[in-house]
């Protein structure tokens, strides 16, 4: 089993061996290939039951969530089981401001948002409000540690969902909010609402694919941002807190402040993904945000390898792609797509027993001056 999961290590080793410039080139080629996948889908990768572009759009959203959750769980070591709450806050911010079902609708003749750019304007707003939610949740709860934090965040996630369910005068309750705004781009006679509207459902470059491209662009931006944070003082403080909070505190790291930063940044990224979701589906309802989804996001992070931002993107791909791939496949009269939670459960248990660090574990290295140190070493050897 250990040997079976080892390819991750080989890949990881190769990647670490590359220089900065080579990493950029390999990364650019990798993401370009990913972006072209929906247009030239290989037959083995295609999802027969469901649009491949839509699947990839979902993957981009979950990947952004996984990167955000990775900041909280993987980098700072704070176990957040209610992350779906931030996703919900982001999605509901966009929906409440732009859906005609909402009492706070600002799109249309009486509001200050114009249909053409309403969604774009709402994205930073959604991120800001979600970051605020992270701050409000973080300030009282981040003094708790480990398991208690997990439970409080779990409670927070449930409370957000129940609020969305119960405050039916604002959120329209279980019926949800319909006709959420989305970017209007490429409008012509055939597609009066643009390429991002659900009307664009024919062919390979359907609206799912367009959303995937948008999500992929945002994902790359977030990856660069998080990568820079990781290599900065903040990232080193997070690692120190994750490895030993007391020791970090003794060494002069303001643990509370940096934990709060991790929480707020993670929340904002979750909010961004929520805004993407609201735009793509054009519908936001409470049942999307149940705790099971929180667990699935955590699965993506753990599966990919906590702390490794490219690993968690792969984890997100697995948890989105596999159920969609298996959707139409029948075995013994059972639709394999239905069994996704069974597979994930088994995979998680097996992974924790045989390889608790995930498929692509993060390698501890000299974070601060690793490149310089390696160069020095190399010079000393030769």
């Amino acid at each position: 089993m250990n040997r079976l999961l080892a390819p991750g290590d080989v890949l990881r080793e190769r990647w670490s061996g590359l220089g900065r410039g080579q990493k950029w080139i390999v990364g650019a080629i990798g993401f370009a290939v990913l972006a072209l996948l929906p247009l030239y889908t290989p037959a083995i990768l295609d999802t027969p039951g469901i649009s491949f572009g839509g699947t990839m759009a979902q993957f981009a959203m979950v990947a952004i969530i996984a990167i955000g959750l990775n900041v909280v769980v993987g980098q700072a070591g704070l176990l957040d089981l209610g992350y779906v709450g931030f996703y919900a806050v982001g999605a509901y911010t966009v929906a409440l401001l732009t859906s005609p079902d909402s009492p706070w609708n600002q799109m249309g003749p009486n509001g200050f948002l114009h249909e053409g750019w309403a969604w774009l304007a709402c994205v930073p707003l959604a991120m800001a409000i979600t970051a605020m939610a992270g701050l409000i949740l973080g300030i009282p709860t981040l003094r708790l540690r480990g398991d208690y934090l997990a439970i409080v965040t779990l409670g927070f996630g449930e409370i957000i969902r129940l609020l969305a369910d119960n405050l039916s005068d604002v959120t329209n309750g279980p019926r949800g909010l319909n006709r959420v705004a989305y970017p209007r781009l490429g409008q012509d006679a055939a597609l009066p609402d643009g390429v991002f509207s659900s009307g664009n459902s024919a062919g390979k470059a359907n609206y799912g694919t367009w959303w995937f491209w948008l999500g992929l662009a945002l994902m790359v931006a977030i990856l660069l941002l998080v990568g820079n944070l990781e290599r900065s003082r903040v990232g080193r403080a997070w690692v120190a807190i994750r490895e030993d909070e007391d020791a970090a505190e003794v060494m002069g790291v303001n643990t509370f402040r940096f934990k709060l930063w991790a929480f707020v940044i993670g929340a904002a990224i979750g909010g961004l993904s929520g805004a993407l979701y609201a735009g793509q589906v054009q519908y936001v309802g409470p049942s999307t945000f149940n705790i099971i989804n929180s667990m699935l996001f955590l699965c993506a992070v753990v599966l990919g390898g906590q702390g490794n931002k490219l690993g968690v993107v792969f984890g997100a791909f697995v948890i989105v792609y596999l159920p969609n791939r298996l959707l139409g496949v029948h075995l013994f009269g059972i639709n394999l797509g239905d069994l996704k939670y069974l597979f994930f459960g088994l995979a998680l248990v097996a992974l924790m027993i045989f390889r608790p660090q995930g498929l692509f574990p993060v390698r501890q290295q000299l974070l601060a001056y690793s490149a310089a140190a390696r160069r020095l070493l190399r010079r000393a050897v030769s």
Partner: protein
């Protein structure tokens, strides 16, 4: 939307009521009902608290152990005792009813206990053998929770037709709730009496086992200091196994009391919310502390019912979670303090 919304305050006023007179008028009734719910929470909470005390593990799969108990009891009622699930109440007299229920309860306890020990052996033992990190345990527990739920959701219907699956099972009503007597203006039904008596008896037995027997001493010792306990000749493996068994058995008992109260609640996902609340109860009373779990369960049941009366039925779960968050913020170790080992030796 029928009415125009002017601002946040008026909007919320329509969704959230604040009704203290309702609480005042039916205070006794709410307390009695809350007590019955609390008794069920308390029994499930014991499983969380004992396992946490011994392994420092939030056993997320415990809610699924409870769900297995529900299905076990139901299986016993339907296939072994031969009751048909048609929604009509059976009137077989007090004596036989209690007998049938006792058999179903024992069967449910057996199923839950075996399931709990099985989960421990398959998933947790490899981890605590190599002293894995707490996060690893938690993720394993989440994975096991998925596996058990999906087993009942998909695999069970394939093995036993008309059993398990995505829909709730048809209720088997052995006891029709009937008012037995009235105390302080509160109607006490036979179901409430049975629930509270059974739960109290089981709680007393568990308390005695933990505090007075050799096994209980072993459990407390391992909770306090695993290494020293092992040096003193306590078998850690055996203690962990019996801890899971005790928790599972109590969850099975709680499951029967639950389906007595909510006959239509037997569904594969039915354990989840109750499990979270029972865990909240354990935290409320001080996790790792047996009596704390019992107290926390009763308190949570009662407070939840009060909150429901004040704010409206749909806010019941919100009240429970807010209560949990508040307790953790102001007294992170719970009402009675944290450790099983440090509780009265």
């Amino acid at each position: 939307m029928i009415h125009q919304c002017v601002g946040l305050v008026t909007c919320q006023a329509a969704d959230v009521s604040f009704n203290l007179t309702g609480l005042w008028n039916s205070f006794g009734q709410l307390t009695i009902d809350g007590l019955a719910w609390g008794a069920i929470y308390a029994l499930v909470a014991v499983g969380y608290t004992l396992v946490f005390g011994v392994l420092r593990l939030i056993n997320f799969a415990h809610s699924e152990i409870f769900m297995f108990g529900m299905f076990g009891s139901y299986f016993c009622l339907q296939y072994i005792l031969g009751f048909a699930p048609d929604g009509n109440a059976y009137n077989v007299g007090i004596g036989p009813t209690v007998g049938y229920l006792a058999v179903a309860m024992v069967f449910g306890m057996l199923v839950s206990g075996v399931a709990a020990v099985g989960v421990e052996a398959v998933a947790y033992r490899p981890l605590h053998k190599r002293n894995a990190r707490p996060l690893t345990f938690l993720i394993t527990a989440i994975g096991m929770s998925f596996v058990l739920q999906e087993f009942v959701h998909f695999v069970l219907p394939a093995l036993l037709p008309d059993y398990g699956g995505p829909n709730a099972q048809q209720p088997i009503v052995l006891v029709q709730p009937k008012i037995q007597f009235t105390v302080f203006g509160a109607d006490v039904t036979n179901v409430t009496i049975a629930t509270v008596i059974a739960a109290l008896a089981l709680a007393a037995i568990t308390d005695a086992v933990i505090n007075r027997t050799k096994l209980g001493r072993g459990i407390r010792a391992v909770a306090q200091d695993p290494a020293s306990a092992t040096l003193m000749g306590v078998s850690r493996e055996l203690v962990i196994m019996s801890t899971f068994a005790i928790g599972g058995v109590l969850a099975g008992a709680a499951a029967l009391l639950y389906i007595l109260k909510v006959p239509q609640g037997i569904i594969y996902s039915g354990g989840f919310l109750l499990g979270i609340k029972a865990f909240s109860a354990a935290v409320l009373g001080g996790i790792g502390n047996l009596r704390g779990a019992l107290l926390g369960g009763l308190l949570l049941g009662i407070m939840e019912n009060y909150g429901q009366a004040v704010f409206g039925t749909q806010w019941r779960d919100v009240v429970a979670f807010v209560l949990l968050v508040l307790v953790l913020l102001f007294r992170p170790t719970g009402i009675l303090g944290e450790s099983l080992g440090r509780a009265r030796v």
